[in-house]
């Protein structure tokens, strides 16, 4: 720094006490950190609920709907299935984004354990379009010539077996990995028209309580082994904006449709959490605003204390633009270090959050996404502009 700049610094910044400088820095750093962490929490929440690894155990925007079986309609499948007009009505309902039918098998199906134990049971199969699935393992899919059929099993069924059936019957409990290693024979059709496929479980679902096979396989099997014409679906899967929406719940009630009420309750809770996260965001925005104000006031106070000197400097030929630049160069590093510290703290926070989530079988990225970086970049630019404006306002 040349001698003149040293003298200017002595003249214009000498009133800065280190305590005040540190407090201004701390205020900006804490404000920025809280603001970024609030965004980080919101983003992580979105990742958990709507991201690629979204987990239905945290509440889903997908629900399955069927007609309530009553004394009047029991025994008559046509009364418990959905007519096209009823499907159309649901499609048009508020908040329904898409709708899909669960296709059931229309042929006898038996699953046999491919061992000497001789275990065999009749089963039912269902399929849904892939867009409604919460998990799509690599092995999922079926081609016309394939003898291999992948199956996705509901977690509910595995739990029923492990905590109900196995314990009561003295059978071994089975982990997901163990079940996936077991090969089954899938016998389809009547003895006159029968084929055996090799089946294995490739994944588990929280979304649909069923035994799922690929849609292409179900369409093929129903055509080849099916005994009667294509009936109306008895279960529908709906993607909703907000499953806890009272209007939608009323529609279900009015129509006497049933769904998973636990899922609706989860979604209600999720809505509450979303509101809380939103409120935290507003609070963080407020804190960020206050800390920016404190930092701006610090700048204005520093300049106000040097007002007389600045006027004298202007009288002897110092351009206000030069003085503004001089002051900005003094305050900019303070701003930058506060933001960088906040960013480092946020990176650390994300790492810890992701680590914690992993221990709860939830997948979160260890590095924040470009959304967060964009907010940091925009925030820095806005702060940069605010400081420039404050200096311009103070110096003129």
């Amino acid at each position: 720094m040349d001698q003149r700049k040293k003298i200017l610094a002595t003249l214009l910044l000498k009133n800065n006490s280190y305590a005040r400088l540190f407090l201004a820095w701390l205020s900006l750093c804490v404000g920025t950190t809280l603001f970024l962490i609030a965004i980080l929490v919101w983003w992580n929440f979105q990742e958990l609920l709507y991201g690629k690894s979204a987990h239905d155990s945290l509440g889903s925007s997908f629900i399955t709907v069927s007609k309530k079986v009553t004394g009047e309609n029991m025994g008559n499948p046509t009364l418990t299935s959905f007519k096209p007009s009823e499907i159309g009505e649901l499609r048009r309902a508020t908040g329904v984004e898409s709708i899909g039918a669960l296709t059931a098998n229309r042929f006898p199906a038996v699953i046999k354990l491919n061992t000497s134990l001789g275990f065999a049971t009749d089963i039912f199969l269902e399929s849904v379009p892939d867009q409604f699935m919460d998990t799509l393992p690599e092995e999922w899919g079926w081609g016309a010539d394939s003898r291999e059929v992948p199956i996705i099993l509901s977690n509910d069924f595995l739990n029923l077996y492990n905590y109900g059936f196995a314990l009561s019957q003295g059978l071994p409990q089975l982990s997901q990995t163990t079940i996936q290693a077991i090969a089954f024979d899938l016998v389809l059709g009547t003895p006159e028209n029968q084929q055996v496929y090799s089946a294995h479980i490739v994944g588990f679902t929280d979304r649909i309580s069923s035994v799922l096979v690929p849609q292409s396989f179900m369409d093929y099997a129903n055509t080849v082994f099916g005994s009667h014409a294509n009936p109306n679906p008895s279960r529908l899967i709906l993607k909703l904006k907000d499953p806890s929406n009272p209007t939608f719940i009323k529609l279900l009630k009015d129509k006497n449709y049933t769904t998973n009420t636990e899922s609706l309750r989860w979604n209600k809770l999720r809505s509450v959490v979303e509101v809380i996260v939103g409120a935290t965001g507003i609070l963080a925005l407020l804190i960020m605003g206050i800390s920016t104000l404190v930092f701006t006031l610090f700048i204005e106070l520093t300049i106000a204390q040097s007002k007389q000197s600045l006027e004298l400097l202007s009288l002897i030929g110092y351009a206000p633009s030069y003085l503004r630049q001089f002051m900005f160069r003094r305050f900019f590093p303070i701003m930058l270090t506060a933001i960088l510290t906040a960013v480092l703290l946020v990176l650390l926070a994300q790492f810890l959050i992701a680590f914690w989530a992993k221990s709860h079988q939830l997948v979160l990225p260890f590095i924040p996404s470009w959304h967060i970086w964009l907010v940091i970049a925009v925030g820095t630019i806005l702060l940069f502009i605010q400081i420039k404006r404050a200096i311009k306002k103070a110096i003129g």
Binding site: D2, Q3, R4, I7, L8, T10, L11, S309, L312, L313, S314, L315, I316, G317, Y318, A319, P320, S321, Y322, G396
Partner: protein, 214 residues
């Protein structure tokens, strides 16, 4: 750079000024670079106001003041600073030194804007006016006469077309006035600059082209 003043009347003095009561107010003048002008008036006639108008410090006046071809009223703050840094050197009556800084720091702040005068020359000027030994003393500890000499040197540490001196020798003895006049003349000749000086009484510090009475 030419200085033109046309029918200038400061607002606070409007009531006191009549058509022919002053050589400056309500008159038209064109001062060319290199001229030496004395403005003489007793206290309270507006000498300092006139100086502040020429410096662009005040804008509460009617009429027009033009430096070169630029109307002072329309200059923005950066243009005014350039005018003060490159074209007019000023000694204010109240000196306007940065009292918390040393003599050297005050001068260095001014010298560093244009770097047209070397530190050695600055040191020599301090010697010429007899305040070299005070160069590391804070200005506030100097006598008013010493501060006046610091202000004179500061006005000379830049290129200039005009030197505006507002009662620059009011606290100097004859010997020091003589030394200051010599230094000012030397620098004014070097830059072929004009001098505009105000004083309470008639004087012959410089060979004036014009003496005007406020």
């Amino acid at each position: 750079m030419q200085l033109t003043i046309q029918k200038v009347v400061p607002h606070p003095l409007r009531a006191a000024i009549t058509a022919n009561s002053s050589d400056i107010w309500m008159q038209q003048h064109r001062f060319s670079k290199g001229q030496r002008i004395a403005v003489i008036a007793p206290s309270g006639k507006g000498k300092t106001t006139f100086f502040h108008l020429l410096n662009g410090i005040r804008t509460d006046y009617d009429g027009t003041i033009t430096w070169g071809d630029r109307d002072l009223r329309w200059m923005d703050s950066d243009e005014l600073s350039k005018l003060r840094a490159m074209y007019i050197g000023t000694v204010f009556q109240d000196l306007r030194l940065l009292s918390q800084l040393t003599v050297w720091e005050n001068l260095e702040l001014k010298r560093g804007i244009t770097n047209t005068i070397t530190p050695e020359k600055m040191q020599q000027m301090l010697h010429q006016l007899g305040i070299a030994e005070k160069k590391d003393s804070p200005c506030r500890t100097l006598s008013y006469g010493e501060q006046q000499r610091v202000a004179i040197i500061r006005a000379l540490l830049q290129p200039f077309d005009w030197l505006l001196l507002d009662e620059p020798f009011s606290h100097l003895d004859h010997l020091n006035i003589e030394k200051a006049v010599m230094l000012i003349l030397e620098m004014a000749q070097k830059h072929q600059a004009g001098i505009l000086i105000t004083s309470l009484e008639d004087n012959d510090y410089f060979q004036y082209h014009q003496k005007l009475y406020l």
